[in-house]
């Protein structure tokens, strides 16, 4: 591990319910007011009480949206490109200063262009002509956001589109880390994107996992999860490349590890065994001991099963340090971004390091006594933060943890 290439985050970009930039998200993390509101994007007329979710109100037109993509790009594609443009611009990286085949792209998404696919089905069901929707169906696969981002920035290096449900973009970060460490790339534009869809909203409703009010992770009054949408991107650079150009090193992506519960397709292992394996593996990969960690951005969906399993995993790995490590879930602010959750939550971890601010566990004031973790109280906490852990778990029993370190 000693002679491994170190990897640094040099640019951030995000579009969430907070707005189309990292600055909007940063402000919202301190405002302590949830952005989960009545859902308007989808028809919820069949539900007497409606639904809440964290919607993106307006998606600005991305400057680098290819002409051929203007008709075909899905909502997830557009979200991705807006966030990627911000991240690359913020990094200050002149793309022509790096050979294009040394720039890699990894973008995680769980549903890709599903919203447009549903609209195509709807046209058929309602007897309308699908028109351009057909073109969007072919273009709307999970691999499309990565194609758009790579094209936008002329990246011809390694490429991957992981789709591991709600850990998709955490896997994208881990992949970018692995590529740069191995020398397969010098720069990696990594992130995730997911728009709201009828499938995900109705599916989680069917599983009785949706909260009628903004979700309350780890809280004894929890009623389930809240969905959100958006995209987040990070520019990763090899240390030598970043230092040579005098880049602003925002954080080190120090380690990552993934695992699978191999137990159930939707429910986490009740003892959090897979989560322990990923968390312990990521700390080992980063060369960090549990008592060095300052803040954990938990997966924290606010479903009973997830909260209990994750809390057990944290307690088991951190041991006595659990009483000191600050933990919060930011899903109470921007909802669960599914395939984009891992990226946006790692990004929030970078902000925590930069700002010396642990964001609050939104909407929660009464910790579930079964969750033996130290939750960050409303309002957040100003504290020096050197090392952050971000957990992401998903259907299929997927778990991925990434570790960030102050440069």
């Amino acid at each position: 591990m000693g002679d491994r290439r170190r990897v640094f985050v040099t640019g951030l970009g995000a579009i969430t319910a907070a707005g189309p930039s990292v600055a909007h998200l940063r402000a919202a993390l301190r405002a302590s007011e949830t952005l989960i509101r009545p859902l308007r994007l989808l028809d919820t007329g069949s539900l007497p009480d409606g639904l809440v979710a964290a919607e993106v109100d307006r998606i600005p037109e991305a400057v680098r949206l290819a002409r051929s993509a203007r008709v075909r790009a899905s909502r997830s594609d557009r979200l991705a490109l807006v966030a990627a443009e911000e991240a690359v611009a913020a990094s200050g990286l002149a793309l022509d200063s790096v050979p294009s085949d040394r720039i890699a792209v990894a973008v995680g998404s769980s549903t890709g262009g599903m919203l447009e696919l549903e609209s195509c089905y709807e046209a058929g069901v309602r007897g309308r002509r699908p028109g351009r929707l057909r073109a969007q169906v072919l273009a709307g696969a999970v691999g499309s956001p990565a194609a758009l981002v790579a094209t936008a920035f002329g990246a011809t290096g390694r490429r991957l589109s992981p789709s591991t449900a709600c850990s998709s973009s955490a896997i994208a970060l881990a992949t970018g880390l692995s590529w740069i460490r191995s020398g397969a790339a010098d720069v990696a534009i990594v992130g995730g994107t997911d728009g709201l869809t009828r499938m995900t909203v109705s599916g989680f409703l069917g599983l009785q996992a949706m909260s009628p009010t903004p979700c309350r992770p780890f809280d004894r009054r929890r009623q389930g999860m809240s969905l959100g949408e958006g995209a987040a991107f990070l520019v990763l650079e090899a240390e030598d490349v970043a230092r040579r150009r005098g880049a602003d090193l925002l954080a080190e992506l120090a380690g990552a590890s993934s695992s699978c519960d191999a137990a159930h397709l939707t429910a986490p292992d009740p003892d959090g065994r897979g989560a322990v394996q990923a968390l312990a593996g990521a700390l080992r990969d980063a060369g960090v001991s549990p008592d060095e960690v300052d803040y954990v951005n938990a997966h924290g969906t606010a479903t009973l099963q997830n909260d209990l399993a994750e809390a057990k995993a944290l307690a088991r790995v951190f041991g006595p340090a659990s009483e000191r490590v600050a933990v919060s879930s930011t899903k109470g602010l921007i909802g669960h971004l599914l395939g984009a959750a891992g990226a946006v939550e790692a990004l929030i971890g970078v902000l925590a390091i930069q700002d010396g601010f642990a964001p609050p566990n939104f909407n929660g004031t009464e910790r579930d006594p079964e969750c033996a973790i130290r939750l960050v109280p409303p309002g957040g906490r100003e504290q020096p933060i050197g090392i952050v852990v971000s957990n992401s778990y998903g259907f299929g029993g997927n778990n991925c943890t990434v570790v960030l370190r102050r440069p």
Binding site: A69, A141, G143, A155, C260, A262
Partner: protein, 404 residues
């Protein structure tokens, strides 16, 4: 077996569920005999009943359905009940590959070091159609808790992990028509980075009506001609839609040697890179040839190229450019064959191509009808997707030759 580099990645198991048959032996013999996996679609076809009405598909008269596949022969009954068709095909192929590799049930430490990697372009299309129709008809509150979990594209990989007890990395990737090749590269990366000791890597897809309609509208489906005509009149048409799954066991050469495993082939090179093409464009033939040559020739001479032609002109042009480039660089023609023209096409069928390539270098044989049948020691193949992605791959043989 010769001594591949200790740290080389080798293929030690193959599992196939395809329109040419089920199992490596059956598929190899069908492919090399020139058999065809297409058949006519008929009204009331039992394989279509799950979601496809052929009357909605005037342009689709033939398709390639999997053959001789009985899921319960491969998958535990309790798990099988909950699985969709895509998951059944993938898990069966994964189970076959694991058995073929001579592996036993993993112990706890092996479980944590065993990965599943799956490539799929669209995942479970038929149940997605059923589910979506239901929600559109009855409202957003009508989502089925039984169907929903199977709709995520990584459901098949999750079921495979449960079936085999693998708790290491579990990854599903989607890269349009190169999803199989992209999964292969991702598995290779996991092994090379030390994230796992063994990986089962698979590709799986089925076809659904909305995609078929979209393909038909864009004239991307093969016109209604018989399969033999499709093979001989190569100027016309495009793809024949197919379903199927392929899975391989990958591990380090030293590990395979320690446990006395049979090695089908050594992975010399495999990457997934952009070509500079537009986000919805197939890479140009020139870019494909340049990338293939640059990636595979530094490792040595290539004896054969397994093409990606599917009956349509764009991919034949890529194959032509690649063959020419390899021949020019080596001073002699390379042998050439295709498989999509017998098996049909889907987004992750590249994994079947990699399996056939592994069998070819293992046997030293290759079904080129024109060039001599001298032994094939090293073989190149290529994935190319309408996302501008290229995935050049090369495999080489060990010294041992035997019938698979």
């Amino acid at each position: 077996m010769s001594d591949p580099r200790e740290d080389a990645i080798v293929i030690t198991g193959i599992g196939l569920v395809t329109p040419l048959g089920t199992g490596a032996d059956a598929v190899w013999h069908a492919w090399t005999n020139g058999d065809c996996g297409f058949r006519a679609l008929e009204a009331g076809d039992s394989r279509l009943a799950q979601g496809i009405d052929p009357s909605d598909l005037p342009a689709v008269e033939r398709a390639a359905f999997v053959r001789d596949f009985v899921p319960r022969e491969h998958v535990r009954h309790g798990l099988l009940r909950r699985m969709d068709w895509v998951s059944r095909m993938l898990v069966a192929a994964a189970r076959q590959a694991y058995r073929d590799a001579g592996c036993e049930a993993p112990d706890e430490s092996e479980r944590e070091r065993a990965a599943i990697v799956v490539g799929s372009q669209f995942g479970n299309q038929r149940e997605t159609a059923r589910y979506t129709r239901r929600v559109l008809d009855a409202g957003i509150g009508a989502g089925s808790p039984m169907l929903f979990p199977n709709l995520v594209i990584n459901a098949a990989a999750g079921y495979a992990a449960i079936e085999l007890g693998f708790s290491g990395p579990n990854l599903t990737v989607s890269e349009h028509e190169a999803s199989g090749e992209a999964a292969f590269v991702a598995a290779l990366d996991l092994l090379l980075s030390g994230a796992c000791d063994l990986a089962i890597v698979g590709g799986v897809d089925e076809f659904g009506e909305v995609y078929l309609q979209a393909l038909a509208e864009r004239r991307l489906l093969h016109p209604s001609v018989g399969w033999n005509k499709a093979l001989t009149q190569r100027g016309a048409g495009w793809l024949i839609p197919a379903e199927g799954a392929a899975a391989l066991v990958l591990e380090r050469a030293d590990r395979a040697r320690r446990r006395g495993a049979r090695v089908y082939g050594v992975v010399d090179e495999a990457v997934t890179v952009g070509s500079g093409a537009g986000p919805y464009d197939l890479p140009s033939p020139a870019a494909a040839a340049r990338t293939l040559r640059a990636c595979v020739l530094p490792q040595g001479r290539v004896d054969a190229y397994l093409g990606l032609a599917d009956g349509g002109a764009p991919r034949r042009a890529i194959d032509h450019a690649c063959r020419e480039a390899l021949a020019a660089a080596q001073g002699a023609p390379v042998r050439y064959a295709t498989f999509r023209e017998q098996c049909g096409d889907h987004g992750s069928i590249g994994m079947l191509g990699i399996a056939l390539a592994a069998l070819a270098v293992h046997c030293g044989a290759f079904p080129d009808r024109e060039l001599s049948s001298a032994r094939v020691r090293r073989l190149a193949l290529l994935g190319a997707a309408r996302s501008g992605v290229l995935a050049p791959i090369s495999l080489s043989s060990t010294d041992e030759i035997c019938d698979p």
